[in-house]
Amino acid sequence: MLRACLRGANSSARKNFGRTPLTNLQPCRHYTAGESGGAAKVVAAGLVTVGGGIGGTILYAKWDPKFRAGVEKNVPYSDRLLGLALGPASQYGGLPIKNQEMAQPPSMMEKPQKGSKAKMEKKLKDESPAAEAGPVPAQPAPSIEEASTEATHIISAISEMSSVPAPCDSEAAAVKEECKECHDHKDTALSAMDEPEPVASEALKERPVEEVTARLALQDQEEQEIITSVSASLDESLASSAKATLQAIGAQEAALQAIAQHTVKLKEAMEAEVPPEEKSAQWKDLEASLAERTSAVTSAETALSNANEALHSLKAVIDSSKGLKVAAVRPLVLAAEENLHNMVVDLDKVVTKVQSSESEAKIVSQYSELVNEAKLQFQREVTSLTPEIQANWKGLTGKLSEDDLNALIAHAHRRIDQLNRELAEQRVREQIHIDASLEQQKLEDQKALEKAVSTALQHVKEEARLEQERKLSELREVMEAEMRTQLRRQAAAHTDHVQDVLKVQEQELRADAEQVLSRKMLEQETSYRQLSQEQLDNFTLDMNTAYARLKGVEEAIDSHVLAEEEARKAHHLWLSVEALNFTLKTAEADVPTQPLQGAAQAVRDSCHDNDFALALASALPEESLQRGVYSEASLRARFHALRSLVRRVALIDESHNSLYQYFLSYIQAALLFEDKHQTPPTQLSSEDLDPFKLLAYASFCLEHGDLELAAKLVNQLRGEARRVVEDWLTEARLTLETRQVVSLLSAYANAVGLGTTQAP
């Protein structure tokens, strides 16, 4: 049926809608057609808007990095898009500026930190400041340098600067003294030459404190290394150069000495008229001295070359150490340069001395050579004249003949003439020669002068430069000292101000803290009191509850005991009642039950405190107690026996009790037939009081086990019938009574038992 309805509905719907699509299509088409155009427009407009929005966002992000950062933060995956469109974010564009600004204060903080830390480290490590005048002066140089940069930065950016640690100043002052000591001892303490680390030419980035300390340590290490290396090199070179120079000077002096000696000896040998033996000795001496001179000169030359080398190396080292661009090395470099200059000057002096003596010696040697030449020529002439006479004519005084002597004299005269002529010539040419030699000498002098002038100029320049540098360094020191004093003053003022502010803050904070403390104390006290009170209350509560529970438990136990007792009693009662009940069953046919006395006594015993049960137990009829009761079956049987009798005496009552009546009632009984059993009505009417009917009812009741109703019905019998059933009735009554009492007792025992048993 449902399907049919649906089908009908579908068909009707189809019918209904079958028509409309045809009519709706066209308007729909129009609608859709129109709408398609409209939809395209809307879509296009939407796309344009979105594209415009995105493009605008990108452009603005390009212009404003903060906006870009905001967009990238808030919109996921926008960083990719913006990265594609604009390239990687110039996030760090904003930071370098900040870093540059911030780098200087951190660098400022780093430098004093570095300097102070290094100083403090040094101070902690070193125990004797005098011994460590060397290493520590390295630090004041950087600290001075750094302090100057600091000062400029502080002056420019005073607001950003945090407080310069005060120990820096005291340390700077101590360091300055040590620096002075250093300057005093610089010539002797060549062993300890430190070089400060290169000033921060590092990247301008903020670094964490640990990094800074690490870097400081690293820089300290580097500094140490550089210091040691440079000091070693400078020491080496200075020492070597000094040694070489001294050696050279010594050698030169020795050469000078040798030359002088040689010259003197030569002069002596030339001019002195000594006996020939001494002359040979003299010549030997001369040769020796010549040899000495040559050796001395060569050694001097080698020494000079060594010294020059050493000086060159020293200069190179000094240049390299200058080239390290360290400021504080200047005084030391200055000192080294001065040393160098002195050495060079000494060397030059000695060299000039040697040269002059050499030139003198040259003259003398030339003179000696000339003399030797003349001598040799003379010797040759003499030998040519007198071939047999040997050269050593001095020892030939006795061997010479007159001819020889004359020849010698003639030769001598001729030689004298010749020499006079030469002398005259020489005198004539003297002036020319003198002029020429003067010219030569002038030239040479000029050369020498130029050379001397140039060297002197160099020396003077060098000295001037050194002087300038010295003055510069002194000035710098002075300025730095002044700067330091200013800084110290500022720092002192700052520390005073900070101290004042701190004092005020301390006061305020103390007051606040005391207030807070007092409040907290009060709170604590109140809370403590509250807690203790609570505890007490809780404790009393717990105690009370425990006590109550204990009481409850006790009561429960007592009640339990009582209940147990009751249960036991009830059980006992029940048992006795059961026994009583059982005795009721002991009735056999026509034999009454056992006397219930015992059971009743048992019952009575088991319930002496229970009035109800006692009453019930005592309500048992005596007869039942003494004699027992008849069972229902026996009563029934008896009734059956009785019934005929009752029927026979049905008419007999007080008034009708003659024999004739008896006869009549017998006949009636014989002739009347009634139902054996008839259901008794709920209410007896007057006509139901007929004995026959009553008997029928009672018989029915008995058949159905209702002794009570049967007894009641039988009780309605009157007259002789009544007299006949009297005993039966009594027995029935007894039985009923007993049964009732027993059932009551049993019910009571059950009830009590149920009541006492505790449900699980």
């Binding site: 008896r638 026996a641 009785l642 009798l645 005496v649 007999i652 007080e654 009790n657 003659s658 024999l659 008896y662 002789e720 007299r723 006949v724 059933v725 009297e726 005993d727 039966w728």
Partner: protein
């Protein structure tokens, strides 16, 4: 047993009746023989008397419950 009483009563009645009848008859016979020249009337009289007495006794016995002694009434 109250129901046995009636039976007992009837037994007595009958026994009594039998006795009385017998006695009456006997007396009647005796009297008839002795005194009344073998008339039958004393026998019948005697039996009748006996029977009557028995009837009366039976009735009385059966009625005895309903009838109270005058002494009991007075009491």
């Amino acid at each position: 047993m109250s129901e046995k009483e009636l039976g007992k009563k009837w037994d007595r009645c009958l026994a009594d009746g039998a006795i009385k009848l017998g006695t009456g008859l006997g007396l009647g016979i005796v009297f008839s023989v002795l005194f009344f020249k073998r008339h039958t009337w004393p026998i019948s009289f005697g039996s009748g008397t006996g029977l009557g007495m028995a009837y009366a006794n039976c009735q009385n016995d059966l009625r005895s419950f309903y009838m109270q002694h005058s002494s009991e009434k007075e009491q």
